[in-house]
């Protein structure tokens, strides 16, 4: 794609946000900045995503407390983590890192590189989901199913719940990627930011879940 086309576009629509940009910019009538001014309070979209992540956090806090209670019971049999989990973890963390590189490139107007790194992000993310499915299959092959024992129940439920959030993230990713391809994101600005917040959160959440499930 010719970068000039993008530049034109950027000039054409300097105020009208193409999408990923926080809409707050044009929120106030007559260009009044919101009372939140700068920072996260001046950025409703980012604030909204963070608040959403707050409630997702509480969901997993609730699950963690259930886990702690249940683990104290007599029939708890610790589960050995399927080895593939470590590969999956690597893939997800690498995906997060790739996204950061993509953002840098994007902000620096290096579109082709940004596209490549975004593609890497998505691929690694999809790889993680496939790998998690692989972990389920590996356990099933050992005869460990959802209802086999409390630890396996929590393992399936928590990885499933995290996986659902990740699939949601992949859907969002598809939207971001397609905007990038149709060039409705303005380079130089950070249109990937909101998605990045969510994506990094999921990576962090996964590390947390690993710790809860197998280390603590």
């Amino acid at each position: 794609m010719p970068a000039e086309a993008l530049e034109d576009r950027a000039k054409e629509t300097p105020t009208h946000s193409g999408g990923g940009r926080p809409e707050s910019r044009c929120g106030a009538p007559g260009g009044d900045p919101g009372p939140g001014g700068t920072g996260i309070l001046g950025d409703p979209a980012l604030f909204g995503v963070c608040a959403f992540l707050g409630t997702v956090t509480m969901l997993f806090v609730g699950m963690t407390s259930a886990y702690m209670v249940r683990r104290a019971s007599a029939d708890w049999r610790p589960l050995a983590p399927p080895a593939i989990l470590w590969l999956n973890t690597g893939a997800l963390l690498a995906s997060s890192a790739a996204l950061e590189v993509a953002r840098r490139r994007f902000r620096g107007w290096d579109l082709p590189a940004a596209r490549t790194w975004v593609a890497v992000t998505g691929l690694l993310g999809a790889l993680f989901v496939a790998g998690q499915y692989g972990a389920w299959r590996a356990l099933a092959a050992q005869g460990i199913f959802l209802a086999s024992n409390p630890h396996s129940s929590f393992f399936y439920v928590l990885t499933g719940l995290h996986g659902l959030h990740l699939l949601g993230g992949l859907a969002w990713f598809a939207a971001v990627a397609s905007r990038l391809r149709r060039m409705t994101l303005t380079p130089g600005e950070d249109g990937l930011r909101l998605f990045a917040v969510y994506w990094h959160f999921l990576a962090g959440l996964w590390v947390y879940l690993l710790l809860v499930l197998f280390v603590l």
């Binding site: 009208h16 946000s17 999408g19 809409e23 707050s24 910019r25 044009c26 929120g27 106030a28 009538p29 007559g30 009044d32 919101g34 009372p35 939140g36 309070l41 001046g42 950025d43 409703p44 604030f47 909204g48 608040a51 959403f52 707050g54 409630t55 997702v56 509480m58 969901l59 806090v61 609730g62 699950m63 407390s65 259930a66 209670v69 249940r70 019971s73 007599a74 029939d75 708890w76 959802l146 209802a147 409390p150 129940s153 439920v157 719940l161």
Partner: protein, 604 residues
């Protein structure tokens, strides 16, 4: 795009009926949609309450007509015990979540937030519309559960396992319970979308000059409700997910071993127990970690409405604004630390019970602060007796009378005998159901001009208030006595061989009185529905500011058009409670008036 619309104000308002009134993204339309849906749900849940009371009041009677109308619940005109359990379960569930978490919060919150903070719409209008269109299927699923399988859920609005976790436990534990869970998940999803919008709009998007300390107390209530909802509902979601797995996929999160259903032990083919090791108490913790904040989700908006209404009709600034905010914040914070007071009889460690009791007592402090502030606002004022102020006074009254019994129940030693008796039913109907309901009625009368551009009828409104007020106390106050006398709640009433309790016999007269009062209470709501629909279409047109109120919302047209203010959003120069200010030309100073008079003009 959210704010592209905001810019456009009137010019870009959708024209086609379906986009304007059905799939609208306008906060006022969504608010009214929520409100009307919730009130229809209230009608249904109210009818369920009437059926419960008929059974308790007249256990010996047969109801052939009802039997024809509801063939699944009656046989030969006699209500079945299973149906009775479905009635109180669905009554409670619908009232708590689909009526009184919805009408005041999603209904009035959506209508009022942009008007009171000074913005064109909510932060995320599409999400807002999606929220309503998630709520509505939730309502339909919950109602449909009466008609599928063996009937609706019957494990109480708290859905404790094992009743709720074993599909075969009672008829309602089958499809009905599954639909209960699914309906709740829809509800929570919609409430979460709403909460994100509330929080973002109030914190990020306010007009110039609208500092946090100039927000009406209603907005503080909405802000806190959003925080409470976002932090506590996930706990119930977690609980519901685990419950679904126990029900349908054989896990044992809540289910211990040794379960016996209709004399058959629940075993695997190889003779091991089907479930083992789970803890029913786990559900109680997850449920009440939501459940207690939830009661403040119901209450806080009513407390906010009451403050705003009292100030307007007493023509006095609200007394102790900052302490009011502080009280609400501390009530909200403490509400996360007291869930155990619902579990005193669960066999918890007495020291733990004592900790929960102490935190519960602590909530009495900010609650008392609120009451004294209202009384101080009322003190020496010349009240303008219009309909909204009656309801606000009703809230104050119910908050006091219901709060006092809360002090009893908060003590574990007192709660243990009173637990699961009608005393508890009396307590929570006064403080939670009553105060929230009266708050909704007051807010309806007060903000009706902003919802429909018309005034409600005063005579009908006052008649509705007095009937409701008297009948409400007549219905619920005597429940304290029968509760202390040991009348259990959730019990298929005395009388028939199946539910005969000799010691309840002497209480029957009171039960008849309660049922008669409840029927009057139910019937008086007709006054409201008549008034509501008549006024919405035929009531006298309202002026911009019919109550001479000072808040920002009263500077918009009645009803406000798309975008709320025809021109620029006005700048705010003071708090919304400047009434009877010396040296002011009128007895109120609108929030938009820059004159340097009054308690909170200029900086602050």
């Amino acid at each position: 795009m959210a704010h592209a619309e905001a810019h456009a104000a009137e010019a870009h308002a959708p024209q086609a009926f379906i986009w304007k009134y059905v799939f609208s993204k306008d906060h006022k339309v969504i608010g009214v949609q929520y409100y009307v849906t919730a009130m229809l749900m209230a009608l249904i849940a109210g009818l369920l309450a009437m059926l419960i009371r008929l059974q308790v009041g007249f256990p010996e009677a047969t109801w052939p007509t009802l039997g024809k109308l509801l063939p699944r619940g009656f046989s030969d005109g006699i209500m079945s015990p299973e149906f009775y359990a479905m009635l109180f379960t669905m009554h409670g569930t619908i009232m708590v979540f689909f009526v009184l978490s919805t009408a005041p919060v999603s209904g009035f919150g959506n209508v009022l937030i942009p008007l009171q903070v000074g913005w064109r719409d909510m932060a995320f209008p599409f999400l807002n519309a999606l929220s309503y269109w998630t709520f509505l299927p939730g309502c339909i699923i919950i109602l449909a559960s009466f008609f599928v399988g063996a009937g609706a859920a019957a494990g109480g609005w708290t859905s404790y396992p094992p009743l709720s976790a074993l599909q075969g436990a009672v008829p309602g534990s089958g499809t009905g319970q599954t639909l209960w869970i699914v309906g709740m998940v829809f509800f929570i999803a919609s409430f979460t979308m709403g909460g994100l919008n509330f929080l973002t709009t109030i914190l990020n998007l306010r007009t110039k000059g609208m500092s946090l300390t100039r927000l009406p107390l209603t907005m503080w209530a909405m802000l806190l409700v959003a925080v409470l909802g976002l932090l506590s509902f996930p706990s119930l979601v977690a609980g519901c997910i685990l419950l679904l797995f126990d029900r349908h996929f054989g896990t044992s999160f809540y289910l211990p071993s040794g379960l016996i259903l209709t004399n058959v032990p629940l075993l695997n083919p190889d003779g091991t127990p089907l479930h083992a090791g789970g803890s029913p108490l786990l559900w109680q913790h997850l449920f009440w970690f939501l459940g207690h904040p939830e009661v403040y989700i119901l209450m806080l908006p009513a407390l906010g409405f009451t403050s705003d209404i009292l100030s307007t009709f007493c023509r006095k600034p609200i007394f102790g604004y900052k302490s009011m905010v502080g009280a609400m914040v501390s009530i909200g914070a403490l509400s996360f630390l007291v869930w155990g007071h619902h579990m005193f009889v669960s066999g918890m460690n007495p020291y733990l019970g004592m900790a929960f009791a102490v935190f519960t007592m602590l909530i009495a402090v900010p609650s008392a602060v609120k009451v004294f502030n209202w009384l101080a606002t009322l003190w020496g004022s010349r009240i303008q007796y219009r309909t909204p102020v009656f309801w606000a006074l009703g809230v104050v009254s119910l908050f006091i009378s219901g709060g006092l019994s809360g002090i009893w129940l908060g003590q574990s030693a007192v709660d243990i005998p009173l637990h699961d008796t009608y005393f508890v039913v009396a307590h929570f109907h006064l403080i939670m159901a009553g105060a929230a309901l009266f708050g909704v009625f007051g807010a309806t009368a007060y903000w009706f001009p902003k919802m429909f551009g018309r005034m409600m009828n005063e005579t009908l409104g006052k008649a509705h208030f007095w009937f409701t007020f008297v009948a409400y106390y007549c219905t619920f106050f005597p429940m304290h006595y029968i509760g202390i006398a040991g009348h259990m709640r959730r019990i298929y009433a005395s009388g028939r061989p199946i539910g005969y309790y000799e010691f309840l016999e002497p209480l029957q007269e009171i039960n008849v009185f309660i049922t008669r009062s409840a029927l009057v209470l139910g019937a008086s709501q007709l006054l409201f529905f008549v008034n509501f629909f008549w006024s919405a279409f035929k009531g006298p047109k309202a002026s911009e500011n019919p109550w001479n109120a000072a808040g920002l919302e009263w500077t918009t047209p009645s009803p406000p058009g798309h975008g709320n203010w025809p021109g620029e959003i006005p700048e705010v120069h003071r708090w919304p409670y400047d009434y009877s200010v010396p040296d002011a030309p009128k007895d109120f100073v609108p929030q938009t008036d820059p004159a340097p008079i009054g308690a909170r003009a200029g900086g602050h």
